[in-house]
């Protein structure tokens, strides 16, 4: 790999961990590494990235870049691409990453692979590996042309921990107007249903088929185990349970001692929220459901038969 440009991301004023994951990925591919830091008054972050393996770090620092906007970020990344002519541009697949990446690819008229989990070298070419069909299948993609853009799933690589000599170069011509105006970031008020401290969570998914079944089928198991109830996104989207029950990247990220997933197929957005649980038991009728890949123990079967049996067995084990 000749030359990689890493687009860094700032989170709460500091370098986001996922940027260091891109460093690991870029270093594995070899070749020349340039990074980009975008923001306002973020020189220290650029210095930090230079010392943590980001190579030659370009600093796009302008008051107009204080908050993420697609216009501002696209302009800064375009400047860096024009200046560096990289073969590969790596961006974290985060809410700002996926917002800007497609716009950039269309502006440059180049190929893009999104939410990539791995990049392999195959002869002289690269193969981009990612999930498809909501994680049911993996896919190998070939992307032609130069540059190529890849957005990379956070957590797909380890963060780079080495310390390196790097440098910071200021990039000019990065300021300007944005049609999209940032107003504010709102943090949703914490609901009364805090799952992050639960010892046991029993979550239900679309497999429960209707809202009444959370009460009728899932709740007896929740109560028998002394657990808290959680849910997958489709359940919350359908209005069966309030958002505060949602486990996943856009809900609560949990790591209980035991996580029981009932009728949840295991879309990435759910897995991100529960895969660091100490022990995972999944119940699903589809033996190929992705949830079984992260589960320690699986039960393949009809949850409407299995779950009542589990609830009864737990109850009797507790002495009725």
């Amino acid at each position: 790999m000749a030359k990689t440009l890493i687009v860094g991301e700032i989170q709460k004023g500091g370098l986001r961990e996922s940027t260091l994951e891109l460093v690991t990925l870029a270093r594995k591919l070899g070749g020349d590494i340039t990074s980009l830091v975008i923001g306002s008054g973020v020189g220290a972050v650029a210095e930090e990235l230079a010392k943590k393996g980001g190579g030659r770090v370009l600093l796009a620092d302008d008051a107009s870049l204080a908050n993420y906007t697609s216009d501002g970020h696209a302009r800064a990344i375009r400047r860096a691409i024009d200046a560096e002519k990289p073969d590969l541009v790596l961006i974290s697949n985060t809410p700002s990453g996926w917002d800007v990446a497609g716009k950039l690819a269309a502006a440059i008229d180049c190929g893009i692979a999104t939410d990539v989990i791995r990049i392999e070298q195959d002869g002289g070419d690269l193969v981009f590996v990612r999930r498809m069909f909501n994680a049911k299948f993996d896919a190998r993609l070939r992307v032609s042309g130069s540059p190529r853009i890849a957005t990379v799933q956070p957590g797909a690589s380890e963060a780079y921990t080495g310390s390196e000599a790097g440098s910071v170069t200021k990039l000019d011509g990065v300021g300007g107007d944005s049609r999209t105006k940032f107003v504010e970031v709102r943090v949703a008020p914490a609901g009364g249903h805090d799952l992050t401290k639960a010892e046991i969570i029993v979550s239900g998914g679309r497999g429960l088929q209707k809202p009444e079944n959370f009460e009728a089928v899932l709740k007896p198991l929740v109560e028998a185990l002394g657990a808290q109830m959680g849910a997958s996104r489709p359940v919350v989207d359908a209005g069966w349970l309030p958002h505060e029950y949602q486990v996943g990247s856009s809900g609560q990220v949990v790591s209980p001692k035991l996580y029981v997933a009932v009728g949840i197929s295991g879309a990435i957005q759910h897995l991100v929220g529960m895969k660091s649980s100490n022990f995972i038991i999944a119940i699903n009728k589809d033996p190929d459901a992705p949830i079984f890949e992260v589960a320690d123990v699986g039960i393949v079967g009809d949850l409407f038969e299995v779950v009542p049996a589990l609830a009864a067995a737990v109850k009797s084990a507790k002495g009725g």
């Binding site: 996926w98 069909f133 038991i281 699986g298 039960i299 589990l310």
Partner: protein, 259 residues
């Protein structure tokens, strides 16, 4: 207000997906298809604008073979005014950018105030067609929105970030928004709506009709192979009768010191 809603037809949520023999895609000959879930919320949001302002026009567009006409009819039954289907064999292996270019070719002739579509599709999960289309149209955009308030010539939206945080941004019209699931409660087509839908226009266009040559939609991204994720490290599957499985489950919970 003229609103274009882009709908993708994807395999039905409950369809059992099998790989094609050559591993290049799924077997899609004998499965049921439906409107991509994210796109349903985009359509609903457009129809809500029309509910408030009957002079608004909602156009639905889908790229795909004739099976997509059924989804377009469903959208017309829900209240969209007219539908456009684009298909050409040259689009069978199209990548996201080719799809965006094809939609852009039509959208440019429609002078829409607003383009709405889902954040991503449930089949490829690429999530880039929206921002690409916005760029090609010269529109500002916002992705993954969970609310939109139209106010004169602009719209204020909430974008879903991570961990329950929302980013509020304002965009001038015309603009493009991609929609998260759960944004609203999607309506069903009424019987009356379904009857009316039969008389609403559904235009089928080829690549040539929209002024594109096959070379303009040659893919830069190729799916070389799709396959089931490697097993191993997967779950230990409990077997036996229902009661035996329940007994083993209790054993596991006990081992964890939780019973």
């Amino acid at each position: 207000m003229k609103i274009l809603v882009c709908l993708k037809q994807v395999p039905h949520k409950d369809a059992r997906l099998e790989l094609a023999a050559d591993g290049s895609w799924i077997q899609d000959a004998n499965i049921k298809f439906e409107i991509n879930d994210y796109d349903n919320y985009a359509l609903e949001e457009a129809l809500r604008v029309k509910d408030k302002d009957a002079t608004s026009e909602v156009i639905v567009l889908s790229i795909g073979p004739d099976r997509v006409q059924q989804s377009l009819r469903t959208a017309l039954g829900m209240g969209a005014d007219r539908a456009i289907q684009i298909w050409d064999d040259g689009l069978a292996k199209a990548d996201s950018l080719a799809i965006a270019k094809t939609i852009a070719a039509v959208a440019k002739t429609e002078s829409c105030d607003l383009v709405l579509m889902g954040l991503m599709s449930d089949d490829t999960n690429f999530a880039v067609t929206g921002p690409m289309l916005a760029e090609l149209l010269g529109f500002p955009h916002a992705t993954g929105i969970v609310s939109a308030k139209l106010d004169g010539g602009q719209v204020e939206v909430e974008r879903e970030l991570e961990g329950g945080a929302l980013e509020v941004v304002k965009l001038p019209l015309p603009c493009l928004l991609t929609v998260q699931t759960g944004m609203n409660e999607v309506r069903y087509a009424s019987l009356k709506g379904i009857m009316q839908a039969k008389k609403k226009p559904l235009d089928k266009k080829s690549l040539g009709d929209v002024g594109l040559a096959a070379a303009a939609v040659a893919p830069k991204v190729k799916v070389e192979k799709i396959y089931s994720p490697p097993k191993g490290g997967g779950a230990e599957i409990l077997t036996g009768s229902k009661d035996e499985i329940a007994g083993k489950f209790v054993g596991k919970v006990k081992e964890l010191g939780l019973l």
